[in-house]
């Protein structure tokens, strides 16, 4: 059970790490669920940052697929899904650089 949980945690950690390189402590992204992204979007003014939010929801859906939509345990880390996540991360970084060019810590 938990190897898959570990893989999902690693994917989420990587995404959060990229986003939170650009954020200050009080607006850190706390998770990759739709709820966490929505709360974060409200804080950073989503009207100006649509691309980032769209990318995050895309990543959220991919992470969700890794878990078989379970809130309790996590299943089947599909290599194809992992590759898709890896491909989106540079796009996410680029969108963050455009949004906050001086905030990279």
């Amino acid at each position: 059970m938990s190897k898959k949980f570990a893989n999902k945690i690693m994917a989420e950690r990587k995404i959060l790490s990229v986003v939170n390189e650009f954020t200050k402590h009080d607006i850190q992204l706390t998770g990759i669920t739709a709820y966490a992204i929505s709360a974060w979007a409200t804080k950073i003014n989503p009207n100006q940052n649509l691309e980032i939010i769209e990318l995050l929801y895309k990543l959220s859906n991919l992470c969700h697929r890794l878990s078989d939509r379970s809130q309790e345990s996590y299943e089947s880390l599909d290599e194809e899904v992992t590759e898709k996540i890896e491909k989106i991360i540079p796009e996410l970084r680029q969108a963050l650089v455009l949004l906050w060019p001086n905030s990279h810590q």
Binding site: S2, A6, R13, L16, N20, L29, D68, R69, E72
Partner: protein
């Protein structure tokens, strides 16, 4: 609606807190059904659930012991028809995997991660799940409570206050709640606590 629907977890135990939600499980036959269901629900295919029961996974035992069917078109709802899961025998493997997750997250906290709320939440989840695994051996009946670490016969070295904060961090990461987490205090408490001594004591008994 063709899916069987269950509630499971804290509500079924009667363990309800202000931040509790109702865990809903849908057991679906097709992917089309899956797409129509709310994101917040746990959704599994019939085959997956059947596999879990046959292989005796802890989650199967959780569902067997702590779920209530709220909708089914079958004469006998799906889980009831499956009966009792096979014996849970992977406690050693699960324990080891969870310890690794815990170790990694504590290490992230020690090295000043830029996502401390996420990591504190993972620490809570790993600790809770380790205690759940241990409860299958150390208690008369498995405990699936968020407070399972305090139910074991081995003293848990983290105060309730800090543990509650870690729970809030997990909820901030996964659900739609607002909560204040004293990140610096919780981080320091988790790093300083002798968590791996507690883990070693548990490990000796498994």
């Amino acid at each position: 609606m063709k899916s069987d629907l269950y509630i499971f977890g804290s509500a079924v135990r009667g363990e309800v807190e202000r931040d509790s939600d109702i865990d809903v499980l849908a057991i679906v036959k097709t992917d089309a059904e899956r797409q129509r269901l709310p994101d917040s629900w746990s959704v599994y295919s019939e085959n997956t659930v059947r596999d879990y029961f046959l292989s005796g996974r802890l989650f199967a035992w959780h569902l067997h012991l702590e779920s209530k069917c709220i909708f089914s078109e079958r004469e006998t709802p799906f889980l009831e028809a499956l009966g009792e899961p096979s014996s849970y025998v992977k406690h050693g493997e699960d324990f080891s995997d969870l310890c690794k997750i815990l170790y990694d997250s504590l290490n992230e906290l020690k090295t000043d991660t830029n996502s401390p709320i996420f990591e504190i939440g993972v620490v809570y989840t790993a600790i809770r799940d380790i205690a759940m695994v241990a409860s299958t051996i150390l208690l008369e009946k498995p405990s699936f409570s968020r407070y399972s670490p305090y139910q074991l016969p081995i003293e848990f070295p983290i105060s309730r206050l800090i543990y509650e904060q870690a729970i809030q961090a997990r909820l901030l990461s996964t659900r739609n709640i607002s909560a204040d987490v004293a990140v610096a205090d919780v981080r320091k408490s988790l790093i300083d606590a002798p968590i791996f001594e507690w883990i070693n004591l548990i490990g000796r008994k498994l």
